[in-house]
């Protein structure tokens, strides 16, 4: 399988502080579902932000589809097929659900023509709640609905890689389960997913491979099933 995303020797630091990422290497194949787990300050968000370009300055290499991303302006990366759904959802609070989604269509360069309409329909099918709420402001939605909107907005970019940062944070267990069903569905449609999730058992049950990030370094990697059975993972992240 050729790699869609190849991160090599990636280091990052904020200002002059200690590095948040230290020589991280990570690979994700076309259409693969990969998760990165680790403690709260391990640098997971920083890693994702480095890939989409909204994080601190980095050293090292990030290749997407064979192309060096560090040389691409952050706002140009979505056009290559990368959608990053950030932690905390970040929906546009004073725009309707429809407008939030239309922003994604705009970035894709296409006038809101046939392609965008079909994508919108597909997203409404995936998240019927968004259709019901489509005239409502993003800021007035519940947490779960905002997360669906943030993911839907990302999908409007027609990504080949969907990056998700803590999608289940602060959501009720039932919503979390529904959300993960949707992620599996999105993956089945051919979108590669890179998931960071504090709910480690859930993350490892939907992803096919996982990386364990500790204090900015990858300390363990392997198939999700193996990580789930690994004593170190069970002790540190599953509390067993």
């Amino acid at each position: 399988m050729t790699a869609l995303l190849e991160v090599a020797r990636l280091s990052a630091r904020y200002g002059r502080g200690a590095p948040v990422l230290h020589e991280v290497a990570l690979e994700l194949g076309q259409g693969e579902f990969v998760t990165v787990i680790g403690a709260n300050t391990a640098g997971k968000s920083t890693l994702l932000r480095a890939i989409s370009g909204v994080g601190p300055a980095v050293e090292g290499s990030i290749r997407f589809d064979g192309r060096e991303l560090t040389a691409v302006a952050p706002h140009a990366r979505p056009k290559l097929g990368i959608a990053h759904v950030p932690e905390g959802r970040h929906v546009f609070p004073e725009m309707s659900v429809e407008e939030n989604l239309a922003i994604g269509a705009h970035a894709r360069g296409g006038a809101p023509g046939g392609g965008a309409a079909a994508r919108l329909e597909a997203i409404f099918e995936l998240f019927p709640r968004l259709r019901e709420r489509r005239r409502q402001f993003g800021g007035t939605l519940s947490g779960g609905e905002q997360q669906m909107l943030a993911i839907g907005r990302g999908l409007m970019l027609e990504p080949r890689l969907l990056i998700l940062d803590e999608p289940s944070l602060g959501l009720a267990p039932m919503i979390v389960e529904e959300l993960h069903d949707r992620l599996v569905e999105i993956h089945r449609r051919g979108v590669a997913i890179l998931l960071v999730e504090q709910n480690v058992s859930l993350a490892l049950s939907v992803a096919s491979r996982g990386y364990v990030l500790q204090s900015g370094s990858i300390v363990l990697e392997g198939p999700a099933g193996e990580l789930l059975r690994d004593d170190r993972v069970r002790e540190a992240y599953l509390g067993i």
Binding site: S52, G53, V54, A73, P74, H75, A76, R77, P78, K79, A83, H84, P86, H90, V91, F92, P93, E94, M95, E99, A102, I103, G104, H106, A107, R108, A111, P112, R153, G154, L157
Partner: protein, 287 residues
């Protein structure tokens, strides 16, 4: 009847205050910069319109479009070269920059054009419509109509076009906007350009009833800030409502108090609004 007349005058003048203040609100909403030089761009717009009248024979109501285009381009450049580098700097740097820009623009105009007060002559300058006992001054009415049209055009741009939506997205959440492929720096340039271009347009349309000089901006700057804070900083509709409120308060208070005190009443109302509704009259929505 006198009150009605004062209301009409206040509305017509205040509408223009509102529209020239939109840019202040827009720039603050999109990039969190308080542009103290905003009124200097109004002055530039007036000079462009004056020269267009003096040398091309263009009525200021038409010269206003030239004012918009030139000041828009200048504003984009100012954003790119001067404002962008200090966006992440402490607020005090922004204050120094924009106040400095105000001083530079005023003095450059003083050097280039001299301190003379210049005015234009138009056929409608001193004429008016009479409605019952109310006198509606033509230059006031035309300026009001043109200003509101330009304000409505900017509103439609923000609400109805993809670029306008991208600009609002940048205002609401710059990081999320970047993640959605929006070039936020381009949005900043456009917002600054449109903001100062609109105030230049407003400056041009009031030329038929006012004179222009390099320091004309300082007469407006306090009114503009009052208008946007009254209406709610960051809101386009709020700026217009705030501007009309300023115009009406000024003109009605002139009925009761000597003209020198008209701003006293304005500021009393201003302080009351700040105390009772610190977010302004209009709830903030979008940019």
């Amino acid at each position: 009847m006198q009150l009605l007349q004062a209301l009409v005058d206040g509305l017509l003048i205040g509408g223009v205050y509102g529209v020239v203040s939109i840019g202040l609100s827009l720039v603050f909403g999109v990039m969190n910069i308080v542009n103290f030089a905003h009124a200097a761009f109004l002055m530039l717009g007036m000079f462009v319109a004056w020269f267009a009248w003096a040398f091309l024979g263009l009525d200021p109501l038409l010269g206003a479009f030239l004012s918009f285009v030139l000041v828009f381009a200048f504003g984009c450049a100012v954003q790119q070269v001067l404002v962008r580098p200090i966006l992440a700097a402490p607020q005090v740097a922004q204050i120094f920059l924009t106040v400095g820009l105000l001083i530079v623009l005023e003095n450059a105009a003083l050097m280039a054009f001299g301190a003379d007060f210049r005015s234009v002559q138009t056929p409608y300058q001193t004429s008016a419509f009479r409605l019952g006992g109310i006198i509606v001054s033509k230059p006031y009415l035309y300026a009001f109509a043109m200003a509101l049209l330009s304000g409505a055009a900017v509103w439609a741009f923000l609400e109805r076009t993809a670029v306008g939506r991208a600009m609002r997205a940048t205002a609401q959440d710059p990081m999320a906007a970047t993640l959605m492929g929006i070039d936020t720096q381009r949005m900043h340039r456009l917002a600054f350009g449109v903001g100062v271009g609109l105030t230049a347009f407003g400056g041009a349309v009031i030329l038929p009833y006012l004179t222009v000089s390099p320091t004309v901006g300082s007469h407006y700057v306090v009114l503009m800030f009052t208008a946007v804070v009254l209406g709610g900083l960051g809101s386009v509709a709020g700026a217009v409502v705030g501007g009309i409120a300023v115009g009406v308060i000024q003109s009605v208070s002139a009925l009761v108090f000597p003209i020198q005190l008209q701003n006293l009443v304005l500021f009393v109302v201003f302080i009351l609004v700040l105390a009772l509704r610190p977010d302004g009259i209009v709830r903030r929505r979008g940019a």
